[in-house]
Amino acid sequence: MEIKNYGDLSGLEIDTLKEIGSIGTGNAATALSQLIGKEVRITLPEVRIMGYNEAIEWIGGPESITAGVLSQLGGEINGIMLSVQQMDFINLVLSNVLGVSVADFNKLQEMQISTLVEVGNIMISTFINALSGLADISISLTVPAFAVDMQGAILTVPMAAYGGQSDYIMTIGGNFVCDNKQVPCRLLLSPDIRSLNFLLRKLGVMDE
């Protein structure tokens, strides 16, 4: 049955999306591990379909400052993927790749920003590669864009892009474990509704 918004998803369909999230973040952790040259594991990720207000609370409130890396999905699927990089994550990456750490977002220098964009890009690409392999569809990604600002405003970008169709977004959260420290990993995926239907059909979980 064709779904009209995320609220119509069946239990099986949600489980399938969770499985994709789990495989995707596993691959993203491997990619991160190769990049920083250390073992990175990921705790069992939690994949949920959330309302937007709930998603903003989940990520830590609207006014907290964060960095976001965003790519648009094209090809057989349209959508937006966002990697939210909070301070702990940023310092995990910067200390291992560049050997520096920063105390505030406004201290980020160009070289550090381009490292973060690349890390976000690699995580998004690995995630999307896993998705496209599982569903046997081709997905292209745009060059990633970067912003530092209030979380609420950054999360509104995928919301506003498809907000006319649905009030829900897919959130993928887990913790990267590196050097015995846990660092939150926050990814958001927002396919448009047509693409979500196409994806579920390709994965064979949607009743015709």
Binding site: E63, Q72, A147, D149, M150, A153, V157, G164, D167
Partner: protein, 148 residues
């Protein structure tokens, strides 16, 4: 949509491409703050009234009138409509701009004078509005506070 009167402060957080519209009726000291995300309501059944500029502004004006506001005395101040990410192509980059155009148009059609605006740019804004005075403040990251 939030309403406040007689000195209550109303606030909306982290306006990115969204727009905050402060409507104010000075005689009653009645304030409404609408936080819209998209320019036009094209939903079937037109639910989610306050998510859209057209239905949101009109519904807020009606609510104010129900509370006794004189329509001709209501004025507006707006902020938001930023571009959060520099994305090439597509409609993603200019949602803020389309929101601003739609808000301008609806205010004009409803004959609500626009007294002040801080729209566009690339920063998120938190907007706080004081129903005692009809003034407020915009807070952003990496930019000084703006009083309005």
């Amino acid at each position: 949509m939030k309403m406040g009167r007689n000195g209550e402060k109303i606030i909306t957080y982290a306006l990115g491409s969204c727009i905050g519209i402060c409507l104010y009726e000075p005689h009653l000291k009645l304030a409404a703050l609408v936080h819209i995300m998209l320019p036009l309501n094209m939903e079937t059944g037109r639910k989610n009234t306050y998510k859209y500029a057209d239905t949101g502004i009109r519904a807020a004006l009606r609510e104010m009138e129900l509370k006794g506001a004189r329509r001709a005395a209501i004025t507006a101040k707006i902020a938001g409509g930023a571009r959060m990410f520099e994305v090439s192509g597509g409609s993603l980059g200019n949602i803020g701009q389309r929101n601003a155009e739609s808000v301008h148009q609806i205010l004009r059609m409803e004959k609500v004078p626009l007294l002040w605006e801080d729209v566009g740019g690339t920063v998120a804004r938190t907007m706080e509005f004081d129903s005692a005075t009809g003034t407020g403040v915009i807070r952003s990251y990496g930019r000084p506070e703006i009083k309005f």
